[in-house]
């Protein structure tokens, strides 16, 4: 089943073309990494998928419905780039995670027992249930990242979109983070779309890779895509994918 389909998508900021004729399909159960150099249009593409920006040309379908008419946004979980989040905000872990349920509950309605069960389950999946009442400002970088993943999971999404979630994580936290994503993908059946700049590591964890630099340069399994020729086309210089050891 198709979860996401982009058809010939164009986007520009003023005269600067950022995306040109991008077509891409994400199927149920995929774990897709979207890689590319800085300014390649990765975040713009994610914002178009999320309905935050409208494509100037082309169409985007979520679960078979065009994003302009799509109303089941609770089926899409979103983990934004870490610097976009204000971690000085006075919130406990429970308050942050509960927010992820609001889209499913509806305007002006209170969270019921079933909602709180989903919220606590999301916290348990990421291992933060013991820190229920802890202010997020007192968490480490890795724990904060997990809190925001739990927020996205609280809505029980079918598609989880993560925008450069690895930023600021050390090697150990990064390894734990990828293990969590693989668990969500394989055990929970959540389709994942992750923007990444970490060419060396993603290949070990994801099922598919899409290389974007204004246009979609290549798309396939990590074995098919992550070779020196494609990476040179993507980054415009000689690049080799070096796997990190953890």
């Amino acid at each position: 089943m198709e979860v996401l389909r982009l058809e010939d998508v164009f986007f520009s900021y003023g005269k600067q073309v950022v995306l040109e004729g991008v077509s891409l399909t994400v199927r149920e159960g995929d774990f897709l990494a979207l890689i590319g150099p800085n300014g390649s249009g990765k975040t713009t593409l994610v914002k178009i998928v999320l309905g935050l920006l409208k494509p100037m040309k082309g169409k985007v379908f979520l679960f078979g419905t065009e994003t302009g008419r799509f109303s089941e946004w609770y089926r899409v979980g979103y983990v934004p780039q870490r610097p976009a989040l204000d971690t000085t905000f006075p919130s406990t872990v429970a308050e942050v995670v509960a927010a992820g349920r609001f889209g499913r509950v509806g305007l002006g309605r209170r969270l019921k027992r079933g909602d709180w069960q989903a919220i606590e389950e999301a916290m348990e999946v990421v291992g933060l249930l013991p820190l229920y009442d802890r202010p997020v400002t007192e968490l480490s970088g890795g724990q904060q990242q997990r809190a925001f993943i739990a927020r996205a999971l609280a809505g029980q999404p079918d598609l989880l979109i993560l925008d450069e979630p690895q930023v600021g994580l050390d090697d150990r936290a990064l390894h734990e983070f990828y293990r969590l994503l693989r668990y969500l993908n394989c055990e929970r059946g959540i389709t994942l779309l992750m923007v990444s700049h970490d060419v060396g590591v993603v290949g070990r964890w994801v099922s598919r890779v899409a290389c974007l630099n204004r246009t979609l340069i290549c798309h396939g399994t990590p074995q098919e895509v992550l070779n020196p020729i494609n990476l040179s086309r993507l980054y415009g210089t000689e690049v080799r994918a070096v796997a990190h050891s953890h």
């Binding site: 979103y78 006075p90 919130s91 609001f102 002006g108």
Partner: protein, 285 residues
Amino acid sequence: MLSMFQYDFMVRALIAGLAAGIVCPAVGVFLVLRRYSFMADTLAHISLAGVALGLWLGVASALSPFLTLAVAVCGALLVDRLRTRERVSADALLALMMSGGLALAVVFFGLAGGAPVDVTSYLFGSLLTVGSRDVWLILSVAVCVLLLLALLAKEFYYVCSDEESARVAGLPVDRLNLLFILMVAVTVAVCLRMVGTLLVGALMVIPVLAALLVGRSFRQVVLISVIIGVTATLCGLTASYQLGIAAGGCIVITALLFFGALYGAKTLLNLCRRSRTGDGSGQAN
């Protein structure tokens, strides 16, 4: 001290003060956390232009508060439009609207000429200007605003903490932002007479800043802000009566004393913790 309750104006001021002390910090929490602390001041200056316009046009005193409300709402709609469509930066927008509101107020007061009104009571607040109609207006607005806040608390919280994610979740962020700015505008407009144009913003901001020093959750910050707001308003009004000075100043000074006391206590606590642990770090990782 209880003798002050024998005066009707003082009873009215205390009822209005209680309502303002609850509603101002409750709204202010969202303003401060969205980094729009000067929004209340801006809307207060625009509301002052509404007061002055009423004087110039010779609007009956019974209708004057409603004209002030209408001008505040128009100002709020303009601020929201400029904020969302013209992409003016937040600080520049607030400076623009604040100076514009004050300039209009000065011009309208000037055109009103010899109107029998004490302008300073609108700038710094006064207990005597709070009539029974004002009390009903403040109470009605406070109840409506608090009900809306209670009903949409979770939505306002999400928009306030992460607007982009709230939008992705399907919340009507633009409509919530517009509703919120209108709530701030009407709150400011009705509290103007008692607290004063120059100080109503402080009643929205200072209790929240004090609460942020000690609150560990969003819920706690809201609760502590309201407790400080109510206490500061009631203490300030009592001091205003006893000392015969403007109410707004007394209320804000009391709120500042809360902030100073909590800041001092927190600093001392941190120093004690550091000397006990000896590592200079108070954060758990």
